[in-house]
Amino acid sequence: MSDSMTIHLRVWRQAGPESKGKFVNYTVADVNSHMSFLELLDVLNEQLIHAGDDPVEFDHDCREGICGACGVVIDGVAHGPQQRTAACQLHMRHYQDGDMLVLEPWRATAFPIIRDLVADRSALDRIVAAGGYVSVDTGSAPDANSILISKNELEGAFDFAACIGCGACVAACPNASASLFTGAKIAHLSGLPQGRPERKERAVAMVEQMQKEGFGDCSNHGECEAVCPKGISIAAIAIMRREYMKAKLA
């Protein structure tokens, strides 16, 4: 049941933001099919350390698809081949003995590379800081059930709130646009009564911040939706545009 495989890896190595990177080939023997993809990288790294080499740096934390820390382009696809799955939840049973995997970091002007597969995604935080919140000070909230929200409305907003902020949408987009990320937050908050009072200011500020950070424009390729580990719908982008236009016209 747990078959052992040999996997070849071609990994992007880059010492620092200013350094020139290159691909380096490695082979890992005895890969167990129950292993996760990140565990494969762990095994590779142990091998490298024992051999006196520098391990491959990659971001990770929860390893269960929710924190958004991990992010590797595997064979040209952000987070790899399995749909709706972050790289940390990808398991080696999807590969076969002798396969070669090409691993690269997120690539986007707005995401400078820190080292190897680690990119700086702080631009996403700055987009949220521009307006991705409800302005409510602690202690000033009314009773939770005084705001009624229909189940459908709630679930609709939740689908957008599920974004984990991993940046795969940016990495997959030919224009390196952050529209799905930004749209998801705008759609979450404008989709609920709590978020409506500030919807105009929010849409304008977040969209403008996104542009300022050097993300590209959306030209409806849909690659973002295809790689999103949470399956966030590209409808978010339409909502973002509508919110932005309405705010600008008003």
């Binding site: 292993m35 929860c62 924190c67 939840q89 602690t138 059930n145 705001i147």
Partner: protein, 639 residues
């Protein structure tokens, strides 16, 4: 033994203590708040809510986290829900009941006044989160929905699909972002706190390492809030995120903060079993699954038939059998121990025989697949991704895993540690869960501490403390920075033959085998010896690649494993000192005839708070006696 510790619990009836406290404390003038800087280490539910709220009040906040964004703190992974005594379902819940269930669930090893305050505050948390836009589940009529969790007979758990922690954390993170945008919070991400700086006996700052450039930095403030989470990763395998660690808390401990009840750890009953040596972490399947899933093993030892081929009368639904009134919803410690017994008897299932079934067949028949998928869809999906098996068709295989640590830095009623000016919030403190935490109460505690407790208690501290003028050139900063740098240099200079992960895994095995679900004096003594030997070996033989001047995960982890190697020993000592069984701390010598935990209230109704006395010196335990004035200590019975 040393002086008993006083928790500074305010006077008055239990129900009035928090109000009395708030009525009597000193306040900081609004215009003066901006003259005070507060360091908040950690951006999980505790740190995120504290940072945002203090900034709203006007304090200048410097906030720190290890991850590349505050939104990625480990709290993001919480699945099941958050408790509150709203009593929306009208099923008899009250503040008192939430308080009582929590104290009882903790096996009477927590402080009444803290737990009662927590229950009182619980409702405000829900209000606050909803106002932020947290999408808690709703009924068709638009009202909030609740579900029940282990250890309670009412439905008081609010949830947001199977990702409650994510939504609550995003609420706190967004509240932080609002303050970051105005400069009220300065956010330092990818920073690790390496030491606490104490000046004239007061916590005044921290030393951090920039994890990208390796630069060591000094930060000064009027108070330091430690919100750095739990230490479950001392077991190597746990459900905690990989970056969860004890370093910040441990280094404060070495600077004088007492560490309370380190042996009180929670082993969660429903996790996906280990599949091999390469395993890097364990995944929790939310306890909420026990609402609709039935736990069983075959009656026969060594029965290797497929689960679907085992007829109902040859299955042992052991929780329902042993605990008819709570059934599958017994508290975690009880559920975990019973799974272990079933496997110890040879009735475990799956390839490794270290698993039991969690079966949804009956509820799928009763409620339909859609209802089950609505409730647990994302958990089922997660399970299938990891195991390759479809839980709609075959029962899940689950096994207990380390999940939460009730112990932590000792704090008084104001959440202040034994170092004045060092406050500890969330999982990093020991305060509210005694010897066992009930489900859905950690999120509640983290947010209670951050949104509603610390704004008062920190204000009282600042208003009543006169600090000396100091800046980061103070000798205490120089000394702490030098020590931190030397430690890194020393780690890098060893260049031995074993990796950090290998040492961590070795430590984890010692901890799991001897300081895990079931403990004995003999095993604990063995553990103390094994850990100290392993620690010595680590400092002679660890191999850390790279330099300290660049992003270097192995170097980060080396520092954390070094601290775990000290903490692990303290945990074993604490477990050895506590000659009783209480909650998650089960000593085989102390059990009833039918195998339930046997407390010893006469001798052990206290918090054991350990003082660090120096490298390789025996630590000293101080006691905070727990006075139970409002609840009667009974034997927990879930039968």
């Amino acid at each position: 033994m040393a002086h008993p510790l006083s928790a500074n619990v305010p006077d008055g009836r239990l129900q009035e203590k928090w109000d009395n406290y708030k009525n009597q404390i000193k306040l900081v003038n609004p215009a003066n708040k901006r003259k005070h800087t507060v360091i908040v280490v950690g951006t999980g539910l505790a740190g995120g809510s504290a940072a945002a709220t203090l900034a709203e009040l006007g304090y200048r906040v410097n906030s720190f986290c290890i991850q590349d964004s505050p939104r990625r703190a480990h709290s993001i992974a919480a699945q099941g829900g958050i408790n509150a005594a709203k009593n929306y379902p009208n099923d008899g819940d009250t503040v008192w009941r939430l308080f009582y269930d929590t104290i009882k669930g903790g096996d009477y090893r927590s402080r009444e006044a803290n737990v009662h305050r927590l229950a009182q505050i619980s409702n405000e948390i829900i209000d606050q989160c909803v106002a932020q836009g947290v999408p808690f589940a709703r009924e068709y009529g638009g009202h909030l929905d609740n579900r029940s969790f282990g250890g309670a007979q009412v439905s008081r758990t609010f949830y947001a699909r199977g990702q409650t922690g994510q939504q609550l954390l995003l609420g706190a993170y967004q509240a932080m972002c609002r303050q970051i945008s105005t400069g009220q919070i300065i956010m330092f991400e990818r920073r690790e706190m390496l030491d606490l700086v104490v000046i004239d006996g007061y916590a005044r700052g921290i030393i951090t390492r920039d994890l990208v450039t390796g630069k060591i930095e000094r930060h000064i403030a009027d108070a330091v809030l430690l919100c750095t989470g739990g230490y479950g990763n001392v077991y190597y395998l746990s459900t905690n995120a990989k970056n969860s660690n004890v370093t910040a808390a441990w280094r404060c401990h070495r600077k004088g903060a007492y560490f309370a009840n380190p042996a009180f750890t929670q082993i969660h009953p429903t996790c996906i079993p280990v599949s091999g040596d390469y395993q890097s972490k364990l995944t929790l399947m939310s306890e909420s699954l026990r609402n609709d899933g039935r736990v069983w093993v075959p009656k026969k030892v060594g029965d290797s038939r497929l689960p679907q081929d085992i007829p109902d009368d040859e299955r042992d639904y052991y929780l329902e059998r042993r605990y008819p009134s709570f059934g599958n919803l017994v508290p975690r410690d009880v559920a975990s121990r019973n799974a272990k017994y079933a496997c110890d008897e040879g009735r475990g299932v799956g390839e490794t025989k270290l698993a039991v079934y969690l079966d949804f067949r009956e509820s799928i028949d009763r409620l339909g697949k859609n209802k089950i998928s609505e409730r647990y869809g994302n958990l089922f999906e997660m399970y299938e991704r990891i195991t390759g098996e479809n839980p709609y068709e075959v029962p899940m295989r689950i096994y207990p895993a380390v999940h939460y640590t009730m112990g932590g830095l000792w704090v008084d009623y104001e959440l202040q540690s034994t170092i004045p000016g060092l406050f500890v919030l969330g999982e990093a403190n020991f305060s509210d869960h005694g010897a066992n935490r009930l489900g859905a109460s950690a999120l509640m505690q983290g947010l209670a501490d951050g949104y509603f407790v610390i704004p008062y208690t920190l204000g009282n501290y600042i208003a009543s403390t006169k600090l000396t003028d100091a800046d980061t050139s103070h000798a205490a900063f120089v000394e702490a920075e030098t020590a931190a740098t030397e430690k890194l240099d020393r780690l890098l200079s060893i260049q031995g033959t074993k990796t950090v992960t290998e040492y961590h895994r070795d430590l984890g095995r010692i901890m799991w085998d001897n300081v895990g679900m079931s403990r004995t004096a003999e095993g604990l003594e063995t553990a103390v010896g094994l850990i100290s030997t392993l620690r010595e070996e680590f400092w002679e033989n660890v191999r850390i690649p790279g330099e300290k001047t660049h992003y270097n995960k192995n170097l980060e982890f080396a520092g954390r494993v070094a601290d775990f190697l000290e903490l692990g020993e303290l945990m074993a000592r604490d477990a050895l000192m506590r000659n009783e069984s209480a909650g998650g701390h089960f000593r085989e010598e102390y059990q009833t005839e039918d195998g339930e935990a046997q407390r010893n209230d006469e001798d052990f109704a206290f918090v054991g708070a350990w003082e660090y006395t120096g490298q390789n010196q025996d630590p000293k335990v101080h006691q905070e006696y727990l006075d139970f004035e409002n609840v009667q200590l009974t034997t927990r019975s879930y039968k």
